[in-house]
């Protein structure tokens, strides 16, 4: 498609005279009566943490996952009440999670910690039976409006972690993956179009959002000292190289 074709197509669209009159009448009536019932604006629900957690949680489902009793059905995530505006202490992490993950207040490229929380996660089999439940730490970072989510997970379920690309940083294998994710509410039924897109590999589905949303996901992930780390962006601005560098900064802390 040529760029000029988009402009031509959109500019061929015009408001009909009847529609203009309807809009004008409504506007004049509003101005005359000074009455307007504004639709209450739906408060923008910041789903970024939940969405990021749900997306990161399903990332590795694109890789076959096996639990002790067979192939896994889904990896689920939801926020708990534990939220914080300052980086949690080691004592807090030990009491809430049972482990102390690597954390940082900021990265060298300027992404700074803005808040975080504890998420309840679980693996369920295809019948919905719970395989494992655990708690995970989720930290949000931001720079100039661009957001990054870091989660630290510790669980026993065996997963084969691999991504599109990998690098070894500080002796740790770090993977990179990117794909288009459709995040849908729990209980959402896939349409025929969804199924076709999923089966062709065009879309990956994950559950946990309030309404269906398509996002471009990129993530770096690694395992260190038994803890699995995921740094995830949704429609973010960081490059693959920058994500690997940021992973390296965290890994360097644990060295």
């Amino acid at each position: 498609m040529e760029a000029y074709e988009i402009k031509n197509a959109v500019e061929s669209i015009k408001l009909s005279e009847e529609a203009k009159k309807r809009i004008l009448d409504a506007s004049l009536a509003c101005a005359a009566n000074n009455e307007q019932e504004e639709n209450p604006r739906r408060k923008r629900i910041n789903l970024r943490r939940t969405v990021a957690a749900a997306i990161a949680a399903v990332m590795l489902l694109s890789i076959t996952a096996y639990a002790a009793n067979g192939e896994m059905g889904s990896w689920n995530a939801k926020e708990t009440g534990g939220k914080f505006r300052e980086l949690p202490t080691a004592e807090y992490c030990l009491s809430e999670l049972g482990y102390v993950p690597l954390m940082t207040e900021s990265f060298e490229n300027g992404y700074r910690f803005t808040g975080g929380g504890i998420d309840d996660k679980s693996f369920t089999d295809k019948s919905g039976g719970v395989i494992e439940e655990y708690r995970s730490l989720s930290l949000d970072y931001e720079k100039d409006g661009d957001r990054l989510s870091l989660s630290a997970d510790k669980f026993h379920t065996a997963l084969d972690m691999s991504g599109d690309k990998s690098r070894v940083i500080g002796g740790v294998k770090v993977m990179y993956d990117s794909y288009v994710n459709k995040v849908v509410p729990v209980g959402y039924e896939l349409t025929a179009e969804d199924i076709a897109a999923r089966d062709s590999g065009e879309l990956v589905f994950s559950y946990g959002a309030e309404y269906p949303e398509i996002v471009h996901v990129q993530s770096v992930f690694w395992e260190m000292d038994g803890i699995k780390y995921f740094m995830t962006q949704l429609d973010g601005a960081l490059t693959e190289k920058e994500l690997f560098t940021m992973a390296g900064e965290l890994i360097g802390q644990g060295a």
Partner: protein, 161 residues
């Protein structure tokens, strides 16, 4: 720059609908995909213009303000009602005269709304990504990414921009 102290006159309101109605409708139709919702969005944008417009520095400032209000309204409408996430092929056929225009609109309307908006702002309204970022309240890098994704999904040829 504060809220205007006097409401626009009837003539000014009429002029606003005449001057900006088509532009706002194109944007709203691109975001919402059907005529009825797009007309609602235009109507509410004009009403907000009547109620809350600031003093504008120039015509471009006014245009950018109207685009921002309309795109926010469309975004809110999409979020408030899942049923709005549908595209009326009948409306596309009715509104586009040429077959090629219909084909292009179908493809554009298949994009997620936020990428459609980025494509609209750049290729139709002529905004650079830094300007888009300011209007959308996102970083310039995030605006570039949305445009990039939109381009890739539409397979827009870069050679003849």
């Amino acid at each position: 720059m504060g809220v205007q102290t006097e409401r626009p006159s009837s003539k000014e309101i009429e002029a606003a609908v005449k001057d900006w109605g088509d532009m706002l409708f194109r944007l709203s139709f691109t975001m919402l995909g059907n005529q009825a919702d797009a007309e609602d969005a235009v109507s509410e944008t004009i009403i907000k213009y009547i109620e809350k417009a600031p003093a504008f520095a120039d015509k471009e400032h006014r245009k950018a303000w109207l685009i921002k209000v309309a795109s926010n309204k469309c975004r809110d409408m999409l979020r408030a009602d899942r049923r709005r996430r549908w595209v009326s092929l009948e409306d596309v056929t009715e509104l586009c005269r040429q077959e090629r225009d219909m084909d292009v609109m179908y493809e554009l309307l298949n994009l997620p709304p936020k990428y459609r908006l980025a494509v609209y702002l750049h290729y139709v309204a002529g905004y650079k990504t830094a300007e888009m970022a300011g209007m959308l309240g996102i970083s310039p890098a995030a605006a570039r990414k949305r445009l990039e994704y939109g381009r890739k999904m539409l397979k827009i040829s870069m050679g003849k921009e």
